[in-house]
């Protein structure tokens, strides 16, 4: 137990000293493994893990979904989504911010990355909100918060990675994200409502659209609907495995980008290269985390934790709440993916032993990551927004996002208290694959 805590402390020290997290995990994981099992075994373990993860077919779902997201981000599909959402709810108070959130949710259904969702939506939604006199605070924060829906509404990079490391069915995870996604939209819109109730000037109402305009705008999103239906719908219907759906989705997204004339050779090369770099970066973190997890599995930490829970006969719900609280706190300062990869090997056996559903826990993990993405001081979505919108000051963005963080925490509690919200849809679908 003590040596494991020393390992975690060393890891955090290296990481906060700015050593790339992947390498910090490799160093500590390999050293820990060597001290418990011998240097020779540790060296072999590192090479085998690296090679194994590098050529794992299951993992090819990751680059393909990343590629799909980067294609749709360039294809300009966010514009139609925003227009359609605006046609229906733009005339409400704060309606533009709500349209942004709804459009983010729509975009999330074809893109598995929160950062890409926030980035593409900021180009479309921010100028519109400014034109109508929205405050910077509400405009930027609603995009940052809406963007997090990218990883909750399938496809989702985080769900894929959680599914692979815990051997949980990715299709079921994808199905479990849908209803919580709708709940998220509702709660984020309530947060917008609260902001404009406090300060009506922050988000004035837009013009009401006629029904003919609404129907026309709705027709504009056929591309998104088709892509979702074929790729994710195919996974839901049990026609495709996650990897197959990702392959179809990436190619479909490529076709859309191509026929919308969004692709020059240069843009195509940029998209491919960008996706390749992101993949390489993610895999290094994944390999580091696997090496670290191999070490943790040889320590007594998972068993000790279980013993602790049994000794005090803690209620499973209390354990889950404690884990979520820890994540929310860690998530303010840590990069989210590494936080999940580091801690899931420790907590997951506990969740299973307590008889809790791994799919449901996966959704909770995604939601805490979402909170981490928009909670200051370290939130990736906030960084993305402040680099794309240099005119919005960071403190403004930090203050603006607080109501949305609160809405997300409320959602986390609701989802933790009512597992059925997550588990209903996967239970009625027949999903293929293991």
């Amino acid at each position: 137990m003590t040596e494991t805590l020393v390992a975690f402390a060393a890891l955090l020290a290296l990481a906060f000293a700015r050593v790339p997290i992947a390498f910090a995990m490799l160093i500590v994981g390999a050293t820990g493994f060597a001290l418990t099992r011998g240097w020779h075994a540790a060296f072999d373990q590192v090479a085998q893990t690296t090679f194994g993860a590098g050529i794992d077919y299951e993992l090819s779902v990751v680059p393909l979904f990343i590629l799909m997201g980067n294609f749709v981000a360039r294809a300009g599909m966010s514009r139609e989504l925003f227009r359609a959402a605006y046609a229906f709810i733009g005339h409400w108070k704060g309606g533009l911010a709500m349209s942004t959130i709804v459009a983010c949710a729509g975009f999330g259904s074809i893109c598995g990355s929160s950062i890409a969702t926030a980035a593409t939506m900021s180009r479309v939604a921010y100028p519109q909100m400014k034109a109508l006199g929205y405050s910077d605070k509400l405009a930027s924060a609603s995009i940052a918060a809406g963007g997090t829906l990218g990883i909750l509404i399938p496809p989702s990079t985080i769900m894929v990675i959680y599914g692979i490391i815990t051997e949980t069915n990715i299709g079921r995870l994808f199905a479990a994200g849908v209803v919580p996604g709708v709940l998220a939209v509702a709660l984020l819109c309530i947060a917008v409502r609260w902001v404009v109730w406090r300060d009506p000037k922050a988000g004035p109402a837009g013009e009401r659209s006629a029904w003919s305009e609404r129907l026309a705008a709705l027709k504009g999103i056929w591309g998104v609907a088709l892509l979702f239906l074929v790729s994710i719908g195919g996974i839901y219907a049990g026609i495709f495995t996650a990897t197959e759906g990702a392959g179809i989705g990436a190619f479909g997204a490529f076709l859309f980008a191509f026929f919308r004339r969004a692709l020059t050779w240069r843009v195509l090369r940029d998209i491919l290269l960008e996706s390749a770099r992101t993949t390489s970066m993610l895999f290094m973190i994944l390999i580091g985390a696997l090496v670290f997890a191999n070490y943790i599995n040889f320590t007594t930490l998972p068993a000790d934790l279980m013993g602790f829970v049994e000794q005090f006969s803690l209620h499973p719900m209390l354990v889950v709440m404690a884990i979520c609280a820890l994540y929310v706190v860690l998530g303010t300062a840590m990069e989210e993916l590494s936080m999940i990869l580091l801690t899931v090997p420790v907590f997951f056996p506990l969740i299973v032993a307590l008889g809790l559903d791994p799919v449901w826990f996966g959704i909770l993990v995604v939601v805490v990551v979402e909170i981490g993405l928009i909670s200051p001081p370290v939130g990736m979505n906030l960084f993305v927004l402040s680099s794309l919108l240099p005119q919005v000051s960071t403190p403004t963005l930090f203050r603006g996002v607080m109501p949305f963080v609160v809405a997300d925490v409320v959602r986390l509690f609701i989802l933790a208290a009512f597992p059925a919200i997550s588990l209903w849809l996967p239970s009625v679908l027949h999903i293929a694959g293991k």
């Binding site: 990481a15 906060f16 000293a17 700015r18 050593v19 790339p20 997290i21 992947a22 390498f23 490799l26 160093i27 060296f43 072999d44 590192v46 090479a47 085998q48 690296t50 090679f51 590098g54 050529i55 794992d56 077919y57 993992l59 090819s60 680059p63 393909l64 590629l67 026609i239 495709f240 990897t243 197959e244 990702a246 392959g247 179809i248 990436a250 190619f251 490529f254 090369r269 491919l272 290269l273 996706s275 390749a276 770099r277 993949t279 390489s280 970066m281 895999f283 290094m284 973190i285 300062a333 840590m334 990069e335 993916l337 590494s338 001081p377 370290v378």
Partner: protein, 152 residues
């Protein structure tokens, strides 16, 4: 050059998966061995982009403490961090090299297409070593103050 390899490799992976899946579902004619080819394409994708990510200092790291680190110390921090990264990558490359030697010796091949493992592990080893070199160059650049705090 590596960028072109990575980009072409990913494009090929996308096309292969698409045609394999549509072939299987629509015409019950999957591409023979596509599964294994995809696996090795993935490896090539990850390792060919690794030197690029490393050279750009794009690896995910925690930079919350940056505002509190004095500029003079920050430079040395960058030097040390990149040297350490270089050592880790070199170690990874070395172990993959050893693994490739054993793959080559035992003529390990895949089940369906009999793709030999050895040349690929060897390529991964070389690319990891290239990434180690990239990290070393970055460290040297920081030492010579040839690189700012926020790289491109």
């Amino acid at each position: 050059m590596l960028g072109t390899i990575a980009a072409l490799d990913l494009a090929a992976m996308m096309l292969l998966t698409f045609f394999d899946v549509s072939g299987r579902k629509l015409f019950t004619a999957p591409i023979y061995g596509a599964y294994e080819v995809t696996e090795f394409m993935m490896g090539v994708l990850i390792f060919s982009a690794l030197p690029l990510v490393t050279a750009r200092e794009n690896h995910v790291s925690i930079d919350v403490l940056d505002p509190y680190v004095p500029a003079a110390l920050g430079r040395w921090q960058r030097v040390v961090v990149n040297l350490l990264s270089s050592v880790v990558l070199a170690f990874l490359g070395y172990r993959l090299w050893v693994l490739s030697a054993s793959h080559l010796r035992t003529h390990e091949v895949t089940m369906t297409l009999h793709i030999p493992h050895g040349p690929f592990t060897f390529a991964f080893a070389v690319l990891a070593l290239a990434a180690a070199l990239a990290a070393f160059v970055v460290a040297a650049a920081h030492l010579r103050r040839a690189r700012g705090r926020d790289p491109a």
